[in-house]
Assembly symmetry: C2
Homo-oligomer: 201 residues x 2
């Protein structure tokens, strides 16, 4: 068995939503597992002195168009959520709580559920009531989820994940590391497929 | 005959070099022409409040790696030039001089010649002697080329091209407009191919 594919994402990143839908099948075709890392883009943007694409004149209009078109290109439903972007630390803390307590598969299920909820149905992951309802809908104990996102343990766990991401060179999302080779962006899918097929090129 | 594909590029953009190598064949497969626009990324960066990818911590290291890997992915030679990036106004003025006086095909030939010179052989397009030598090597009248890049007419022509690019929404390069649909980046090739094949998706 080869080493897993590291996949860094933010719950408020449209291209992360898209990539999250194809990465498992791609990895499986090449006998790989996916190791997910929920992070906060705000932290990596600060480290890299970047801003969100929608915080730039001209690039904002293009990006809003490209998010939806790139989703359609993958055959995925997508409805631009409003507000966007949103703070996602609570959703990310739930991820790490599930990951460390119940294992990566449960955390992956939460990832898919929360990304789809935000980017297809506009569920505001930053709002307490909406996030609790989504947790319940996703088969989690909603009260326990809320306790987790308010717990210093999971706040620290997310902080650690952000620090480790920056240390690994992550400056945006989705970001992948395959056998030490970094790939940034949903649009690096063909290159990731190639490196998994034939090795470094 | 369908409308041409607008292709905006900067002579100091690695992804523009790569895209310049595939855009004509892709267009031809779909019965389209390519309409090139030499611009200065410095102008569009300012309009969009952006900086070069290599001006950002973390993103710099990734980008240097990705430039070369993306070239290899297209089967193209690539040697990271030093210095990089460079001011390319003289090369761009030569483009517009050729474009307006001798026609787009001659300007396209210059485009290919200059992008390859910089990104394969490291020819410093920002240096007077090197640019003159390249002009001669590319079959141009080197003295006339130098007069053109010092001529207010072609300085104004480039300024107009930059203004028109910003007005069209261009914030980076390569940037394509296909039947009113904008695409930014060498990595949008599959989407461009798709829109040419089946129309807007």
């Amino acid at each position: 068995m080869h080493s897993p594919i590291d996949f860094y994402f933010d719950f408020s990143s449209p291209y992360s939503y898209i990539a999250n839908e194809w990465i498992d099948a791609l990895a499986a075709r090449h006998g790989r597992m996916v190791r997910r890392h929920a992070i906060l883009l705000g932290v990596t943007f600060q480290a890299a002195e970047l801003r969100s694409p929608v915080d730039h004149p001209l690039k904002r209009e293009y990006s809003l168009r490209d998010f939806a078109r790139s989703a359609r290109h993958e055959g995925l439903p997508f409805v631009m959520p409003e507000p966007f972007p949103i703070p996602t630390q609570n959703a990310a803390r739930v991820f790490w709580w599930l990951h460390d307590v119940q294992g990566p598969d449960v955390a992956s299920h939460w990832t898919r559920s929360a990304l789809r909820a935000y980017f297809v149905r506009g569920v505001p992951l930053n709002e307490r009531a909406a996030l609790k309802a989504l947790a319940a809908e996703s088969g989690l104990d909603a009260e326990a989820a809320e306790r987790a996102w308010n717990d210093l343990v999971w706040k620290d766990r997310l902080r650690l994940a952000n620090e480790q991401a920056v240390a690994a060179g992550v400056f945006g999302a989705p970001y992948f590391i395959v056998d030490g080779e970094p790939f940034w962006g949903n649009d690096r899918k063909p290159q990731i497929e190639r490196v998994l097929t034939t090795g470094p090129f």
